[in-house]
Each structure stands twice: as C-alpha cells, then as structure tokens.
C-alpha cells in the first residue's frame, strides 16, 4: 500500500507547492478513516494516505516530544472545575491520541510539579498534542485533495 515519498515531490519545486490543489478528493469513508487514524496514532493517517516516509517522520517527532516531556516530569493536564484553561490544555494534549490515553490510564502518569524540568516537560507534552492536531488537519487536506 505504502510507497516512498520520492514520488510525492512536485515537478516544479516552488516553496508554496505544498499548498497548491493536487488531487481529487477521496471518498468520505476514506477521508474519515484517514483523519481518525491520524488522530489515534501520530503519522498513521499519512501512512494510510500513502505518505509512509512522512508519516514515520511525524510519528518519531511526536513520540520524541512525548518521551522527553515524560522524562522531564511535565504535567499531563486534566480538567479542573473552574479552571477553564485546564480544559483547553487537556484538549491540546489529548490530541496526541492513543499515546495520551496510554500515559493517562495505562501508565497513570501525571507529572511531578517539584521536578526541575516540570515546565519544560509540560511544554513538550503540549507541543506533542498540538503537533498531532496539525497532522490531523494535514491528513484532512491531503484526503480532500487540497494538498499533495
């Protein structure tokens, strides 16, 4: 199913080539599948859309961000009543998909506020989730034919 990314390069290599309309839209079922896979596992949506190399790079980047964030004991947010920013932060981190839920409910990871790397770790964990949110949107664009 997957092919290498070497065939993805546009013939005229302009900096904005990635934003140009590229292909026809996939059927709705495949579009939903690509978006769902992209959210569940970072990069899997791109692998499903035959962008295997890109998908593996994205997977590695998001996982490295998560691992560094955990090793620094960053905060894994959960909603706190009356503190609305915690809802937003929880949403941002939950965008990492399955890894977030494995950390939260499988490993019971929470972070440690007294750790010296707490703030940095929180930034890494938030960034991992938000990177995957961008990957979901990118998978949507590719599947709907708005991007190559």
């Amino acid at each position: 199913m997957a092919e290498t990314d070497s065939s993805e390069a546009p013939p005229a290599a302009s900096p904005d080539a990635a934003a140009a309309p590229a292909a026809a839209s996939l059927p709705a079922a495949q579009l939903v599948m690509a978006v769902a896979l992209a959210w569940l596992v970072p990069g899997l949506g791109h692998v499903y859309l035959k962008r295997a190399v890109r998908g593996l790079i994205f997977f590695a980047l998001v996982m490295i961000a998560l691992i560094v964030g955990c090793s620094l004991q960053g905060n894994l947010y959960q909603p706190i009543r009356g503190q609305w920013l915690t809802y937003l932060a929880t949403f941002g981190q939950a965008c990492a998909g399955v890894p977030y839920f494995v950390m939260r409910y499988g490993l019971h990871y929470e972070g440690q506020q007294e750790a010296p790397g707490y703030e940095y770790g929180t930034a890494f964990l938030l960034t991992a989730g938000l990177m995957n949110l961008l990957l979901v949107l990118d998978a949507w664009d590719i599947a709907s034919g708005q991007k190559e």
């Binding site: 993805e8 390069a9 546009p10 290599a13 302009s14 900096p15 080539a17 990635a18 890109r54 790079i57 994205f58 980047l61 490295i64 961000a65 560094v68 620094l72 506020q113 007294e114 010296p116 790397g117 940095y120 930034a123 890494f124 960034t127 990177m131 961008l134 990957l135 990118d138 190559e148």
Partner: protein, 64 residues
C-alpha cells in the same frame, strides 16, 4: 546535560523538523525553512535572554 539551553535547542530542533516536513517538499526549500525556523527560535531565545540579563530575578517562587 539538562540545561535551559540544551532543552531549548532540542525543542527548536523538533519543531523545526516538524514544520519543515509538514510545509515543504523540495529538499532545498526544506533546508532553507529548517534553518530559518531553527536559527530563529534559538537566536530569538538567546536575544530575549540577553535582554533579560540586566533585570534581577528576585527570590524563587514558592511551590504551591
């Protein structure tokens, strides 16, 4: 090893590679964008740190 600068460089590296792969396909354009993002983040951080240097840090904040 876990200095502020090291963590800033790691963060800048991750984010720069991510947006480079996300936004560019051509290799030359990728290198250009990567350097712009990476040097912008690390250099910007150093400039802000340099500008903050004259200001006293004050006592450490209590841990709630």
């Amino acid at each position: 090893m876990l200095s502020h600068f090291f963590l800033m460089v790691v963060y800048a590296l991750l984010v720069s590679i991510f947006f480079t792969v996300l936004w560019r396909r051509d290799r030359r354009a990728q290198v250009t964008l990567f350097l712009q993002l990476f040097l912008g983040m690390v250099g910007g951080g150093l400039i802000v740190a340099w500008l903050m240097f004259p200001f006293p840090s004050g006592p450490p904040a209590p841990i709630p």
